[in-house]
Amino acid sequence: MSTIAQTLFEKVWRAHEVTPETADTPAVLYIDLHLIHEVTSPQAFTVLRQRALKVRRPQLTFATMDHSTPTRTEQVFGGAPIAIEAAARQVRELEVNCAAFGVELLDLRNDRRGIVHIIGPELGLTQPGKTVVCGDSHTSTHGALGALAFGIGTTEVGHVLATQCLLQRKPRTFAINVKGQLPAGVSAKDLILAIIGRIGVSGGTGHVIEYRGETIRALDMDGRMTVCNMSIEAGARAGMIAPDETTFAYLSGRPRAPRGEDWERALERWRALPTDPGARFDQEIDIDASTLEPMVTYGTNPGMVIPIGGAIPERPGDPVFEKSLAYMGFSPGQPIKEHPVNVVFVGSCTNGRLSDLRLAASLLRGRKVASGVQMLVVPGSQQVKREAEAEGLDRVFLEAGAEWRESGCSMCLGMNGDLVAKGHYAVSTSNRNFEGRQGVGARTLLASPLTAAACAVRGRVTDPRELM
């Protein structure tokens, strides 16, 4: 073994080099877990058919459906047809492809189905030290367990299906050291929004981020996944957190996690993964979490973010900034608080896990969603839904006047018809506030589940600490 101090990323990378990179060729990197879904896989299977190729390792490939699937119970379980014909076709095509190529699929009615980045960890498929890819940029989520996980395009989905490998140049490394305790009312979502605000939407380009420090160690797995999830919003393809006792406790006993002696052996390997003392990163920044406030975005990319008590910044002479504010219907200098809200969405692979729903419910309990506001709560998976229902969270949401749906991506990208109307303001716990992301002309304010719930109660942009 080499004695050079290595980062978590370098250890995982090296262990998966089929052939290392040279000046002329990228590395051939072995992939341990390939997750696929209905939107970015059809064209990849077409290539397999055209070239008469098989899926090389079907047992390392796992499929779910989430992006274009309905969230209305009657369409999922009641036999009502999927409203959007093209979405129904994609779902059928995934079923046909998985059957033809021998890939395990959690189909629409499966009780383990859910958003691909929620179910990977939830089933114990995602494990420390693994390489995980999916035709979806938020694959970075899985890095919270100490995996090297990144999104790929459809051509690469085909590469992994056919060869279980990818051609990759080694990215650079970026350490984000977080210290200090998160104040009450400030969550992992606020932390990652603040980080993106600090380094910008392209600050992590070409890098793998490792989130480090006492604040990260103190986060539960759901919070760690929220942080790693939005690495891509900072331009980084992957975010990682070193595995520790929190990770092991989370994984222990999950359906696809190792058991018995295998578990003991795995633990031994996993404990060797954290970055060695003295290992060097290409970039490094420090963040003090103790001074953070609930964060909210005001513009059309996730880097356009301010503390909730703040005002919209002024950038005279910047036409791009002005265009963004015009789209949002905001003016420079205007406070964001008290701005009216039409829709509140709690869900997505960023904030659709049980602890997110608990946070939202904690503010809604005994309160009502303001009249005229639509609130949609969409659990990240069917398992999250069951667990939430076992705790009575569904009752809290329904009694407050929110809608409680079946799992899926839903209003995060609106492919399934869960859309925000033109010109309407949506406070959303998802990850992208791009123009039109939640519907043509829709205006998205990204925030934490606590903030989203507070906004639902007041019908205005509200600091959740006022209701706590």
Partner: protein, 192 residues
């Protein structure tokens, strides 16, 4: 993939920073199960009015932008989702190169696999190009150089990516050719 050695075209200029993949191709067009025909939906929400007619003020709808194969965009192009539908839409529309000061990782990787050349230039060159829509520009892949009437700029192009573009090689063929190494790796780590 068609081999590309040099590209020569007038430029279409889209002076917007942080153009994300949701703008390039909105999610409602991702329900397709093929790669073809996405060009008609490229920049759909900017290109068409609510009634579906082209907006005359949108950069690509100006007569001068017609037939341009090189798109010059504002800073940081292609952030957001991993949807390969973005380069598919751009190439189906007729673009062969995108020029910016920074190009998001996944979009860049997807572009290279579809014969769309990602060209990252220095701020001065970028400014000149933004200020001169319709300029006659050539992009030479052999030397990774962009030439415009007032000067030239080198751009980063990884040797393997250049090799694939110039020879029209697809990476899948390369990976399939590594069968022996892949099998040896699997044996070494115990994957059966």
């Amino acid at each position: 993939m068609e081999p590309i050695r040099t590209l020569r075209s007038r430029t279409a200029v889209l002076p917007v920073s942080d153009v994300d993949t949701d703008q390039i191709i909105p999610a409602r067009f991702l329900t397709t199960t093929t790669r073809e025909g996405l060009g008609q939906h490229l920049f759909a929400d900017w290109r068409y009015g609510p009634d579906g007619t082209p907006r005359p003020d949108f950069a690509l709808n100006r007569p001068a932008a017609e037939g341009c194969a090189i798109l010059v965009a504002g800073n940081n192009f292609g952030c957001g989702s991993s949807r390969e539908h973005a380069p598919w839409a751009l190439t189906d529309y007729g673009f062969r190169a995108v020029v910016s000061t920074q190009i998001a990782d996944i979009f860049r990787s997807n572009s290279l696999k579809n014969g769309l050349v990602p060209v990252i230039v220095d701020p001065a060159t970028h400014r000149w190009l933004l200020e001169h829509p319709g300029a006659e520009v050539s992009i030479d892949l052999e030397t990774a150089t962009l030439r415009h009437p007032a000067g030239e700029a080198h751009f980063p192009l990884e040797p393997f990516a250049r090799y694939c573009l110039i020879n029209g090689v697809d990476e899948l063929g390369f990976l399939l050719g590594r069968e022996a190494e892949i099998t040896a790796y699997e044996a070494r780590v115990g994957i059966r």
